[in-house]
Symmetry: C2
Subunit: 192 residues, 2 copies
Amino acid sequence: MEDKEILRQHIAKTASLTEEEFEHFFSYFKPESFKKGEIIINEGDNVEKEYFVLSGCLKAFFMNDNIKMHILQFTMPTWWTSDYAALYNKTKATIIIDCISDTEVLSITNEAREKLCSELHQAEYFFRWRTNKGYVAAQKRLLSFMNNDAKTRYEELLALYPALYNMVPKHLIAAYLGVSRETLSRLYNSSK
Amino acid sequence: MEDKEILRQHIAKTASLTEEEFEHFFSYFKPESFKKGEIIINEGDNVEKEYFVLSGCLKAFFMNDNIKMHILQFTMPTWWTSDYAALYNKTKATIIIDCISDTEVLSITNEAREKLCSELHQAEYFFRWRTNKGYVAAQKRLLSFMNNDAKTRYEELLALYPALYNMVPKHLIAAYLGVSRETLSRLYNSSK
DNA sequence: TAGGATGAGTGACATAGGTCACATTCTGCG
DNA sequence: CGCAGAATGTGACCTATGTCACTCATCCTA
């Protein structure tokens, strides 16, 4: 499917845009491609854009003392990502976003999004609902952290994204679940 | 300060409304009062409203098997709360919101908020940014959970909301931090 | 095609934090 | 005023998970 069509269908789930409005909406986005391993946002960067993934897979993570990696999000096609704290507050990036596989995105700058939102009420509506959903998902994950042990979280994750199991290395899954790779290895070898 | 004024100043930090627009905005809200211990949203309820706290303090929490309580949020004056998963998706409440002290709020129904947002572009803008901030805060808390031990999280919380220490019982702070009350007690008695 | 990354499994041990039991305040209200 | 429940502190013990050290398999790529 064409880039534009992927975005169109994604937007259409939330907001109603005329053909003309969508063309305007789309004109603010810029296609970009990245290679596996490439870093899109690095710690300390000024963050200017957010990204809508068309194909491939990204991860957004925090590095603790250059030792431990904590993954906030795997970003699959039709999901959005950025260091939103840095993007919204115009501070330096504290998280890193890089490519688990070759990835194509549509990017939009903070400035362009705000312009778009002020020009087009339905764009504002769309971005409000996108974040609403993200907020609910973040709360749910927080609750899962507080309430469940590592094994339950592991099973939850696989139920939600079966594709991940074969797509990303296990030590990254461990970094998402907040356990060591050794513990993760023991968990799924014990549950067979 | 009058209720209306509190809301006005809160909105003004994000959005620009004319006097007339704010009157319209405000007309959708309804003042409500609750007593300490009163339950505002209970598990299984249909959730129709969200709440803007004027005075007092609420907590939003999840009960695990009627045994363990996990607190998602303490809601202090000028913060918003609801079971947003239930409110947005029109599902039954899975979290409980009750009053830590006598509390006054302004409530707005889901329906009214949507009507308001469609009528008034700046309202849409306001609610978009409110959730943006909530999302960033939720991510930050998630990261803190993954990255820090209980003691660090405890110190973080007190640094952020010194008022909480004297306002809410310690076992509730423990339920927010995701540790047992015994552990919390040991933490701050050891750090003196 | 060999050698160095990279990913993964596993045993031994350390430790943060949970659980249980009981003692000790505090506090609101009859 | 006094007492029943909350709220809190603390000791003893348990358990999930982390850490370290080592091994083995896989897969690039020079």
